[in-house]
């Protein structure tokens, strides 16, 4: 292997390991804070009023049930309001919403189509409560989830936004299973970022905001189809604190097919890269705390790693495949099977890079387990799905990342839907 390539690989391995050690150490350091956060309780009479904003676009089939399920959330109903915004649907969403007409707990709004962030902005002037919770029409909730988020806001009045923990709803395809593992892993990373006050994104699927702060910073802005990320960035560069609530859990529907997943990730990567470029003055800027010094550089670095990992994985994958085919073609299946079995330590790879990458895999699995632990999920159920996660993400994720890097260079915006 060429020297420059070796130096590149070991440099990347070093910083990847650095990032992972950073997450683990920060977790160990702040476990007490997490425990205290879990013990906090707010009595019913002290809970503040909250408005749930539900933007809807062409959801006639599910919108009625979705909104019904929002009312199943465990929260005092005299302090709970829903605003449903029909963002210029072309189907019967508005007619479906009319089934709630006359219900005092819900406000129904209709506007021209303009994207999710415009629907949220349209609703914000109608919010009369000190807190607002932005969700997707298809988000479903653990009954206690909203209470958990509000508890953070009540105990830490300086917090402007609380990000909820989002997991994948009933995964059924291998792509959803892979996403499920990914979201569990991120549940851990996001919690640690929250503890360091360096949250990357308060997700559009489930996040709580202080109404007055969102109004003060000017609400949502059109931001490369990733308005939730941009608002989180903006709040933090304005000196507002964003927390992550690991005990407030909601579920979102992950894309079922590869094509849909690809589209979603293209949007995310493109949105992330563009928004981060817009806020590049915050990168490594100490005045923005962990958000500037760690979160932004680490997230950008992750993109570089994924791209290099891509070439490396495909290189090994193709090499292995070509060798296997050659062996089978020339010497038969039994020779190939024999080559996989090895009882002599001499033939085990003892390169430092192999040790380091094995360690990285172990840390990633540990992160997934810690994510399950913080989300109070059973530790070992469906752990086999990890295979899909490693397989699909190593070999596929770089495609959308590289495509979106190209798109950023050419400034070609991918569509939402």
């Amino acid at each position: 292997m060429a020297l420059w390539l070796l130096i590149l690989l070991y440099t990347l391995a070093f910083f990847s390991l650095y990032t992972q050690v950073f997450f683990l150490l920060s977790y160990l350091e702040n476990r007490d804070i997490m425990k205290k956060q879990e013990q906090r309780r707010v009595a019913d009479e002290d809970l503040p009023a909250v408005t749930m904003i539900v933007p809807c676009w062409n959801e006639e089939a599910s919108v009625y049930d979705s909104i019904q399920s929002i009312f199943d959330i465990d929260y005092p109903m005299d302090r709970f309001h829903v605003i449903a915004v029909d963002d210029g649907s072309t189907d019967n969403t508005w007619q479906e919403l009319q089934r709630f007409a006359g219900d005092a707990r819900i406000t129904l709004l209709q506007k021209e189509n303009g994207g999710k962030h415009s629907a949220l902005n349209f609703a914000i002037p109608h919010v009369t409560t000190p807190y607002m919770c932005c969700i997707d029409a298809d988000t479903t909730f653990e009954p206690q989830s909203l209470r958990e988020l509000v508890t953070y806001a009540v105990f830490e009045p300086e917090v402007a936004a609380v990000a909820g923990t989002v997991l994948i709803k009933k995964p059924s395809t291998i792509f959803q299973m892979a996403q499920n593992i990914e979201y569990q892993m991120f549940a851990f990373n996001k919690k640690v970022l929250g503890l360091l006050h360096g949250v990357l994104v308060a997700p559009g699927a489930f996040s709580l905001f202080k109404t007055q702060v969102v109004r003060a910073v000017g609400g949502y802005r059109q931001a490369h189809n990733m308005e939730d990320l941009e608002l989180t960035y903006r709040l933090q560069v304005h000196g507002h604190r964003v927390e992550h609530c690991h005990s407030g859990i909601a579920y979102t529907t992950g894309p079922r097919t590869l094509k849909a997943l690809f589209k979603q990730r293209m949007r995310w990567s493109y949105g992330f890269l563009h928004n981060t470029r817009d806020y590049k003055y915050a990168i490594f800027n100490k005045s923005y705390g962990s958000f500037g010094v760690f979160t932004l550089p680490m997230s950008l670095f992750a993109y570089v790693v994924v791209v290099v990992l891509f070439f490396l994985s495909w290189y090994y994958f193709i090499n292995f495949f070509v060798d296997a085919i050659t062996l089978i073609r020339l010497a038969g299946m039994s020779a190939f099977a024999g080559s996989l079995v090895n009882f002599d330590w001499f033939f085990i790879n003892t390169q430092a890079f192999f040790f380091l990458s094995s360690l990285m895999v172990i840390i990633v699995v540990a992160t997934i387990l810690l994510g399950r632990k913080t989300s109070k999920l059973p530790m070992l159920s469906h752990i086999g799905h990890v295979v899909w996660f490693f397989g699909l993400y190593n070999l596929l994720a770089p495609f959308w990342i590289m495509s979106s890097i190209l798109n950023v260079i050419r400034s070609h915006q991918p569509s939402w839907r």
């Binding site: 070093f14 350091e29 062996l327 010497a331 039994s334 099977a337 079995v341 790879n349 430092a352 380091l356």
Partner: protein
């Protein structure tokens, strides 16, 4: 800010330590592998020397003794074959440009040539039944890689066949002499029964050159084709 600066430094030190440990473990284990190969080469060189000495002492009458030592002769060949695999693996791990790897390969080449010459003499003198194959290859040659796969398989099927591997890239005087002796021009080239073959050789092509006794000795058990795959999987 104070505590977070400390955290960044602490994480850096931990990461550096892990890196150090990985390199340390890799070096220690790598040296162990080199040591293993060096020891094996010393053993083999001793065995060759001892056979040579015995052969020189006894002169032509040595042929009477060879029968008693068939097992010894066989195990020496096994050791050489095993050494070939190890040297090849170490080369893939440490890289062909590694000095230690090159030295090991040079030594290994010399051992092979000595072994080859010794057994060629014994064969001529005593009419010893044996089959040897000289294989000249080069790194980064696609056809060589395919030929290597076949030869690896051949060693497993016929452990008694003596296969000598010569990397022409090493260009040691001894290998150069051998190349000149047989008039090798291309890689891969195979010398079997005194013939130089530059065509791609499958297992069946080799078998055409093998004497009857060898084929009979290692004839595959007459098992049904489908079953043999799963059974041989543990080899």
């Amino acid at each position: 800010m104070e505590s977070s600066a400390q955290r960044y430094i602490a994480v850096f030190i931990i990461t550096l330590t892990i890196f150090g440990l990985a390199f340390f473990a890799s070096t220690v284990l790598g040296n162990k592998k080199i040591e293993q190969i060096t020891n094996a080469q010393q053993d083999i060189s001793l065995e060759i020397l001892s056979t040579e000495t015995r052969y020189a002492l006894l002169g032509s009458s040595s042929c009477e003794y060879k029968i008693q030592n068939e097992n010894f002769e066989f195990s020496l060949n096994q050791e050489l074959n095993d050494l070939a695999r190890r040297v090849k693996f170490l080369e893939s791990e440490l890289g062909g440009n590694n000095r230690t790897v090159q030295q090991l390969k040079k030594q290994y080449n010399l051992l092979q040539i000595k072994d080859y010459l010794l057994w060629r003499d014994i064969q001529a003198e005593c009419g010893e039944q044996m089959v040897s194959i000289l294989y000249f290859h080069e790194p980064n040659c696609r056809r060589c890689q395919n030929q290597t796969v076949i030869l690896d398989e051949l060693v497993k099927m016929y452990p008694e066949v003596r296969i000598y591997w010569f990397d022409r890239d090493l260009a040691t005087p001894a290998v150069e002499t051998l190349v000149a002796m047989f008039g090798i021009k291309k890689s891969p080239s195979i010398v079997i029964e005194g013939q130089v073959i530059t065509d791609f050789m499958r297992v069946e092509d080799f078998e055409n050159y093998f004497p009857e006794w060898l084929l009979e000795k290692y004839a595959p058990a007459p098992a049904p084709e489908e079953d043999s795959v799963s059974e041989e999987g543990s080899n």
